[in-house]
């Protein structure tokens, strides 16, 4: 699998800012809400604190995970450690089979996308049902979530109306309330029929073994507790030390994700109740590779709020589908290489101007542009993104820039040949790409260097 960043999805109407596509205007609204909500608290101090807690948690991940496991087991839960997405999906299936489950209701979970859980369950004859409205829509459409907290953000309500009409055989409506009601009625019986309920985890609290799930629709709570068996699928980076720490993140997460002051529901799952069973599957799937890299490690601080997607000028133009895998946007381009392999991640880390809008918004202060640059280096080092031709061009340009004589020669080449590329190496392989909509810069008759010398 090689991921191709699909730049074709840049809509033509983007050339007219008066007619922004759905995505762009939704994102702008989300950012406005976030900014309004963050003025109510000591935003910068909270971000700083969150960064410190995550830094500590990631440095002490081994201890915290073991502590969490001990507490979780003490409360009657069972813990499974898995190294790969494939292994995690297999363990999930084992549990479903052991309990004779025929269907699974799922709360919203991005990790389950890594596991391709729906496909795996379906292949095993077990029926998965997404219960988050956006996920439900995306599942009906046979698509992948295009945003980490708003999975169906790429669709208009008219799109959803036609989808429901086609797939659910209901009369067309594009009234959001009516659409939610249709989904709600369909889902109600599914909760009661399901043998297993699955949720992700926003946080795992080490000191108490608590699984914390944050949501707005109530579907997460129902998915977790209506069926007799609950399975939590949790990335190993989700564990934080204490409940006090949680308070810091709850304030940041709701504001960054949806612009709310607090999410509608914050569930604290404290092990199985009333004779039910509860499992927690820890998923590594590339996370220890991120941990082993002293620079990339910072990406494990992510709380998956989606704020970096909302402000990203690239994401706003192409949408999540263009990124080709589970996690889109700036954070996606940083973590995907470690999760699917540098080679397979293709040019994802290059699909950014490094403008830094993402880092300015990130509630845990992940330095995303610097991490993108780091991933680019890894990509070139492993020969994944640059052609031998590009490598040769860059090394000869760098040699020229390494001495006064080489530099003079490059200037001469630019002047005589009009080849600006001897100065700006990235223009060379694609001068046509530059000139399609822009005029070429011109070489001045005298450089600053010569002017300074002669003055």
């Amino acid at each position: 699998m090689t991921i191709h960043f699909d730049r074709r999805q840049v809509h033509d109407d983007l050339h007219s800012p008066s007619a922004p596509p759905i995505l762009d205007s939704s994102m702008r609204r989300a950012v406005e809400h976030k900014h309004a909500a963050q003025t109510l608290i000591a935003w910068d101090e909270l971000r700083e604190r969150a960064h410190e807690i995550k830094a500590y948690s990631i440095e002490h991940l081994d201890e915290l995970l073991v502590r969490f496991e001990r507490e979780f087991i003490a409360r009657g839960g069972r813990v499974l450690w898995t190294q790969t997405a494939d292994e995690a999906a297999s363990r999930f299936l084992d549990i479903c089979r052991a309990h004779g489950a025929r269907s699974v209701v799922k709360g919203k979970s991005m990790v389950s996308e890594e596991l391709e859980l729906n496909a795996r369950l379906t292949a095993a004859g077990i029926d998965p049902v997404e219960t988050d409205l956006g996920e439900y829509i995306v599942q009906l459409a046979g698509e992948r979530p295009s945003h980490i907290i708003a999975p169906a953000i790429h669709m208009s309500r008219q799109d959803v109306g036609s989808l429901f009409e086609r797939k659910l055989k209901v009369d067309y409506t594009d009234d959001p309330e009516a659409l939610s009601e249709i989904a709600r009625l369909r889902l109600r019986q599914r909760y009661l029929d399901a043998g297993v309920g699955m949720t992700g985890a926003n946080f795992g609290i080490a000191e108490t073994g608590t699984v914390v799930v944050v949501e707005n629709e109530g579907n997460g709570g129902l998915s977790a507790q209506a069926p007799p068996v609950q399975i939590v699928v949790m990335g190993i980076e989700k564990v934080i030390p204490t409940l006090d720490d949680l308070i810091v993140f709850l304030q940041l997460l709701a504001r960054s994700g949806t612009g709310q002051k607090m999410s509608t529901y914050v569930h604290h799952f404290l092990g199985p109740v009333d004779g039910r069973a509860m499992y927690c599957i820890f998923v590594d799937a590339g996370r220890t590779d991120l941990l082993a890299d002293p620079v990339a490690r910072e990406s494990l601080y992510c709380i998956r709020c989606g704020a970096c997607l909302n402000v990203c000028p690239i994401y706003r133009r192409v949408g999540g589908g263009a990124y080709g895998w589970v996690y889109p946007g700036p954070i996606g381009s940083v973590i995907t290489p470690s999760m699917v392999g540098v080679e397979d991640a293709g040019e994802l880390p290059f699909a950014s101007t490094l403008c830094g809008a993402c880092a300015a918004e990130c509630p845990v202060k992940i330095d995303l542009p610097h991490l993108l640059v780091h991933e680019r280096s890894r990509s070139v080092d492993e020969g994944a993104a640059s052609s031998p031709l590009e490598n040769a061009a860059v090394s000869s340009w760098a040699r020229a820039m390494s001495s006064s004589r080489g530099y003079s020669f490059a200037v001469l080449a630019a002047r005589v040949g009009g080849a600006v590329s001897s100065m700006l190496p990235w223009i060379s392989p694609a001068a046509r790409a530059w000139s399609k909509e822009r005029s070429m810069p011109k070489v001045a008759s005298m450089t600053f260097k010569d002017w300074w010398r002669e003055r």
Partner: protein, 248 residues
């Protein structure tokens, strides 16, 4: 000339400032460098221009070519090591030296020298404490704010104050000033359609102000947006901040 010195030291009258004139400004936009010289001469600041300087290595680093970037960063560190104050008329090359060198080579000489680099606006306003540089520019202008200057160096406020203090200027705020213009070096050709889509939005916002000039502290962003404006036959002209500040 002081060998040591850190970014937090205060500027003492008579201290020499080393000019870091990025390679593409040297060759494509030398008038920007000359404008910087004239501003500093007016303010009575001693200047030096280390003639060995070439490129800070940013194109290599942004392209993922770490080895080449390290070589050029090391060279920059050697050339500018002896200076306490280094000023560059580019937010982007400023960010490379001041912010990215420390990620590229933590604890290295280049990273240490990089802390002594200042973009022009920050140096004038925050270090020299000068907002009015005695310029006069009787035209309407709006500002294209380079993202590296804005977010890596935090120089937006300083640039805006400098412009607003220019005599007879008609300063107009650019709508959505915080949004990237889509240049991104290599990005501009590798993702050409995205880059020009972002550039189009910037052109439209700038044109909507009705200003005569689009001014920026970053020639690289101006090369992209100005190139688009020229290609479209727009009347809106581009100028570097230094060129406005040098006018009388």
């Amino acid at each position: 000339m002081s060998r040591a010195g850190t970014a937090s030291d205060a500027y003492a009258p008579g201290d020499t400032v080393a000019l870091f004139i990025p390679c593409f400004i040297d060759v494509l936009f030398p008038s920007v460098g000359k404008a910087v010289v004239s501003i500093f001469e007016r303010l009575g600041v001693n200047l030096d221009y280390p003639a060995e300087q070439t490129c800070c290595g940013q194109p290599a680093l942004n392209g993922g070519h770490r080895k080449e970037a390290l070589e050029l960063a090391a060279r920059f560190g050697d050339i500018f090591e002896e200076y306490k104050w280094i000023v560059v008329p580019s937010g982007s090359c400023g960010a490379m030296t001041k912010r990215f060198y420390s990620t590229l080579d933590p604890g290295g000489k280049a990273a240490a020298v990089g802390t002594r680099v200042f973009d022009l606006a920050t140096f004038l306003v925050d270090v020299l404490g000068t907002v009015d540089v005695g310029a006069r520019f009787p035209h309407s202008v709006t500002m294209l704010d380079g993202c590296h200057g804005r977010r890596e160096l935090g120089c937006t406020a300083a640039a805006r104050r400098l412009l607003q203090a220019v005599g007879d200027i008609d300063y107009r705020e650019l709508p959505a000033i915080e949004e990237c213009c889509g240049f991104g070096g290599l990005f501009s050709v590798k993702f050409e359609a995205l880059s020009t889509s972002m550039g189009s939005a910037k052109c439209a916002n700038a044109t909507a102000t009705g200003a005569e000039y689009l001014v920026s502290g970053d020639s690289s962003c101006l090369m992209h947006v100005g190139g688009m404006l020229e290609h479209r036959g727009s009347n809106l002209k581009t100028l570097h901040l230094a060129e406005v500040l040098a006018s009388r």
